[in-house]
Symmetry: C2
């Protein structure tokens, strides 16, 4: 089989030596690793199709890999089953239509490279991530990546005009360029976005871009509780179409950030809940007027600060963004990524605080308030003690929430996924999987055990 | 079986008399009809599940029906196979979250009723259609409805936070309320939007709403050709995030509208291509300034007019919107609904004009320029002569376009669908269909013969 693969992609693109394979066999969290039979690096959609066809005939497991920046173990071989790692890195086509704000992009293009090219022509991809220096467009589609601007533009699935993908048996489906309106049969973009490499391999994406907005304004709002924060968020959402981000952190997190960074208090009084709001447009004075007016009209705040210069904006953002770094000074946290219906968030906050406190552990919460997405950081339990993790996820699910807002299921969240969906629904998902990948070669073990 | 269905939904909701069934057996185009074994009107998701389970056991065909406003024959029984019509009209739940701009809506809720309720609370569904008085939210999801504001907000698929649906065997999948971020397994909203009732029945949708924007400004731009129109569209798209619609019509269409309505010439000179642009926001003076400035900066126009009062806006819109009515005075047109990649639109226009002219027929083109979506109206050939229709669709497909931008496939476009996709891709779609509906009871004959 390796010989056949070498014929398809040329032998220099079939990596079999341990030192060549090593970087593809372990993910960047260093928690997940497995053995690669080989790393295969096809250079075109046609080569991806031939590689998959050969692997499918031989029932050889294939793990598609983009930037290998996933957090749930879905991008490297499983410990219990060696697999061919299909690296899409060479699918590096990038064609930007600066007239209409669209791009056709190979699955292996790194987000940051794409951003440089698109921004130079006045356009931007609406989804941006901290992993931008490594993560790839194909991986972002496969995992339906989110980030801080979902409140305005939606996640990756909503940036897709269309996709081209290869199914397990080598069938090429979808096509790019795609069409902004195209109601002809099942929508591959909708089927494949977020499917975590289990249904097909995204070889090219046709992306809708958004205009680069040169002006930004940031406000930090101090609020008495989460209820008031949600009320203000709703008012801003209705009155400010230019709302670009609505993030939340809490007094204990701000204290921690201040103790680590030495920053001064952000507001005149210590607020239990802190909301960072960003708007973006093309006229900074207009944005300041509008955001200032909307904040004043919303009411219910203990205090607020507004920033329009780059330095001031960065300073306000830092209270929220330094959370990850500040938390890491306390130890290695258990990180959970849940979303909660807006009308159950107060209850979730109260109960998760009680749950963690009762276990004698420490909790730091922050997240994307505009999307109902909270990052739950728990400090105290050892790395292999998942009891609090399970309890937090079950609490989220019991309130109608999601056990994985952005990160996906991979292999890390399979058990929580399985116990928070009905057997019949899981069976229906498995039926789709079997229909498109009857030999179960694509990313086996991801989503379903 | 009818007795079992009557036990589930109560006998008054199983319609078997010919006069009761008649309205459900023929669609509003009057081109499609078939026999209903019965019309079943479940009142809840649980009843839908029980009805489908019974029909699945008996391998009885089921045609889901919302407002019965489809244009491609997908909402009534096929002429060659009697079916149970599953009317979702009684799924009329409507719960609007005015704080966060979301709504949970039963599949049977009529768009116009929903608009009244949501607008009263300051929010709106971004998708609007001429069939608003009859079409239902469930039908709009199943057909991925589009309309004039896709250029800003995307089609129905992009308004979905999530769906609840029932599969052929009665399995309930998805859940509402859903989450704005939820990467757990396959995304039912992405799978079901646009699947035309062949994979599942949408019982409830959780919709993202957009703020009602009270101010609107409209401009009519006269341009020398489609190339100039596309260039201006691109510039406006980049500089005006408030761009709400970009529509196109041509000199012959404007002449026809003027002859039918008696309206005066819209501009100082007769322009080969006319583009209607709308922006929406909360301050009309600001919108006028911005749209006027963007139009002046774009250049390349023969003339332009801008309107900010309601009467003036309606007058400019009427040149575009009166096309359908004006065309109908010439006879019953063959209506085709294609989308074309932007960089092939000039070629499409040239070739479709030649094609129709060579056949001795008359062509009127108009459409949603911002989405690459053209409505092709052909007058002359008799109703059952599909030769020009086929030639136009094949031309669109040969240029990488879609043979059905908004209307879907239904039974009307099956042959064009089959001949413009690869056999392997169609087989993959059929595999998904078989996986979720192994007895092929859901809307059989739609999409696939």
């Amino acid at each position: 089989v390796l010989n056949r693969l070498a014929t398809i992609v040329r032998s220099q693109h079939v990596l079999t030596e341990p030192d060549e394979r090593a970087g593809y066999e372990i993910d960047w969290t260093r928690r997940y690793r497995g053995d690669a039979l080989a790393v295969v690096r096809p250079g075109s959609t046609a080569e991806v199709a031939q590689v998959l066809s050969v692997c499918n005939e031989g029932s050889i497991a294939v793990v598609p890999q983009g930037g290998n920046t996933g957090l749930v173990g879905g991008s490297v071989p499983r410990p219990d089953r060696a697999a061919v790692v299909l690296s899409l890195a060479r699918l590096d086509e990038c064609s930007i239509d600066a007239q209409h704000g669209e791009a056709v992009v190979g699955g292996g293009v790194i987000l940051e490279s794409f951003q440089e090219a698109s921004r130079a022509s006045g356009w931007d991809l609406a989804v941006d991530l901290a992993a931008r220096g490594s993560c790839t467009i194909g991986g972002m589609v496969a995992t339906n990546a989110g980030g801080e601007h979902v409140v305005r533009y939606g996640p990756m699935a909503q940036q897709l005009i269309g996709v081209e993908a290869v199914l397990a048996d080598g069938t090429v489906v979808g096509h790019v360029p795609a069409l902004r309106k195209d109601n002809t049969g099942y929508h591959w973009a909708g089927i494949l976005a977020g499917s975590e490499g289990t249904l097909g391999v995204v070889t090219r994406a046709h992306l809708r871009l958004v205009a680069v907005l040169p002006a930004r304004v940031v406000a930090l709002l101090g609020l008495p509780d989460l209820e008031a924060a949600l009320a203000v968020t709703g008012k801003l959402r209705r009155t400010l179409p230019e709302l670009n981000a609505v993030e939340v952190c809490f007094a204990d997190g701000i204290d921690l950030v201040r103790s680590v960074t030495g920053m001064p208090a952000p507001l005149s009084q210590r607020a239990p809940v802190n909301v960072v709001v960003e708007t973006a447009g093309d006229d900074v004075d207009l944005l300041v007027d509008r955001l200032g007016g909307a904040v004043a009209a919303a009411g219910g705040m203990l205090d607020s600060a507004i920033a329009s210069t780059e330095a001031d904006r960065a300073r306000l953002w830092r209270y929220r963004e330094a959370h990850t770094e500040a938390i890491s000074t306390l130890g290695v946290p258990h990180k959970l990524d849940v979303s909660i219906p807006f009308d159950r968030m107060l209850e979730f906050e109260r109960r998760v605080r009680a749950l963690v406190s009762d276990a004698g552990a420490q909790l730091v919460l922050f997240g994307h308030l505009g999307d109902g997405n909270l990052h739950v950081n728990v400090l105290g339990p050892s790395a292999d003690d998942a009891r609090i993790d399970d309890a937090v996820l079950d609490l989220a699910a019991s309130l109608g929430g999601s056990i994985s807002a952005e990160h996906g299921i991979g292999i890390a969240k399979r058990s929580a996924f399985a116990r928070t969906r009905s057997t019949a629904e899981l069976d229906a998902m498995r039926a789709i999987k079997r229909a498109l990948d009857p030999r179960a070669i694509l990313n086996p073990g991801v989503l379903f055990s």
